[in-house]
Amino acid sequence: MRMFWKLFLSFWLTILLGGAMSFVAISTFGQHFHLGLPFDMARRADEHLTKLTVLYGRAALQLFQNGSQAEYDAFVLGLSKDAGIDISLAGPDNRSIAGEPLPAELANLVERARHAPQALVEKTNTGLRIAGRLADRNGDTAPLAICQLAFGPPPGGRPPGGREPPLLARLLPPFFGPGEIVRTAMMLIVVSVVCYLLAGSLATPIRRLQQTARRIAGGDYSARVGAGLGRPGNELAELGRDFDIMVERTEAVIDSQKRLLRDISHELRSPLARLHVALELAKRRFDAEEDGALARIGTEADHLNELIDHLLILSRMEAKAGSESIDPVDLTGLLREVARDGDFEAAWSGRGVEIIASTAATVMGSRDLLRRAVENVIRNGARYTAPDTRVEISLTVWDGQVLIAVRDYGPGVPEADLPHIFEPFYRVAKARERQTGGTGLGLAIALQAIKAHGGTISAQNALPKTGLLVTISLPTFS
């Protein structure tokens, strides 16, 4: 889920940033367009307009002075209708030629135009106002023509004559203006929906891969990503397909390993089963119940059998093929049980097992595997500790770790051998292990079991009296 939101946010920010940058680019470009290209055009249009104003003004004056009032009115109305130009003529004293006073905004312009060397152009909110003298003589009495042109739509409605807004304004509706909050909100919603879909289309297949990988890590090798990560050719779909192929092969390897283990178990034990029956037959046939050599054969057959058991346990753990259950395990109680059994088993020979320090400790894992681990370490200690001594066990919790220390008072282990005692079949000194009846796999099994629980196991020689100290460390469960 976290990845989905990361993708979503980055898409979202990218789109917003891109939008902002193109807005800046467009407005800069638009300014250049306005300042550069049409600058010349505007100046020339102004020139033409002033000339036109003077021409229109002369024509109107001619009509006013020589023609009839009706003809003059028709001309002015026609100009206004057809060309959008409102023309008026000013006489002396800031009055119109008909003797009416001029509106204040025109009067100011007229006053300035009387003394200007050429026609004046004034920009207004809606368009242009142009005023020019009709006769080429200076003075207050010369008549003036005033043209008013409206361009954009004035606030509150179209200008008379239904003129179109300019080109740029039609193509790019102004973003900043009335309703900008609504427009911003709509844009953000659209961007969010697009980003949501985009992030989802990337995150969903990846999440599915992740879920499948987790199931496989949890031991479910039948889990597959399957089709549906996308169309063939899509990189994620290809990844899913390759992932499935990989799992397929892994499952096949694990299956064959499991089968091999079962086969070994079967094939090695079948001769042992026959050996046992044959041995009993031999005892009966030769009436040799008490025969030492035959008893020896029996012992060795048992030993072989135990060895096969341990080998199977070990390889099963190394392959992690066992579907051991994961539960909270009360390590304190488990240790007490194992110590009591170990003490009981060792009591006959005058040895003992004792818990010298204990505290409440729980770890997550398989009770069976953990039991095997501590049992093997404690039995190992009980085997080597000197008669009339006790194997000492302590259980402490420190910094989120459970520490189990098992110390015996035996001969210890030469320093050179210490790093190897958890290897399968590693023999310290001369075949000592065999003499004392072990299979040589006990500590290797303990190592695998502890490793499977994310813990560590180590050994060192104890001081001041000789002996071996084995320390197991496991993460606590709280």
Binding site: R262, S265, R269, A278, E280, T299, W348
Partner: protein, 248 residues
Amino acid sequence: MPSILIIDDDSELCDLLSEYLQPEGFAVETTGDSQQGMARALSGEHSLVILDVMLPQMSGFEVLRRLRSASEIPILMLTARGEEVDRIVGLEMGADDYLPKPFNPRELVARLRAICRRVGKREENQDKRPPDEMLAVDDLVLESGTRLVKKAGSRVNLTAAEFALLQKLLEETGRVVSRERLAEMVLGRKLMMFDRSIDVHVSSLRRKLGPARDGTDRIRTLRGVGYMYAAMTGGRDERDGAAGITPS
């Protein structure tokens, strides 16, 4: 003479078992083929079937399931050692007993006899024959004939070695039994140097039985000598049918 059918694809083991079982008073027929074995088992000519879990064409469980749907014939399963699941599944599917391979043939004979007795008891429900040899100490009852151990009325599952150990210790309640004697009785052999197997068996038996009702240990260790079952009330209170005990 009880007739036994062995279904196991290890023909050499079958031959050896036939040779071993016949002097023990069993008529033995063997087959390595599960189909044929099933047909023979349903023929009604046998009183007991020994069935291997690992069969080539059809698994032993499948054979067991099909047999159980048609017949009540007692079945002893031979399972792979260490495969606890096999044992549980087998028993749940209606096997009468199980024995992990490899096994001591003496143990097999004891189990076969026990099954025969149990079935015999079931069939002759109202029979007036005397009850099986039975040992009762404190809240423990051990029937040697049917190889059942009950603690306060509920069954305790013991391995062959544990059963034999308990039987010996109960017979000698309150007396020390030396490790050597226990080893000979239980393992059928003398103890080797550093041999701890008997101690491990006693230890696991002790764990399965739990402490006595008054909280004391049922089995005690006598250093350098052996083990002893200590009765709670300090004596051998009841021994039903003690005179009829037969070593098995």
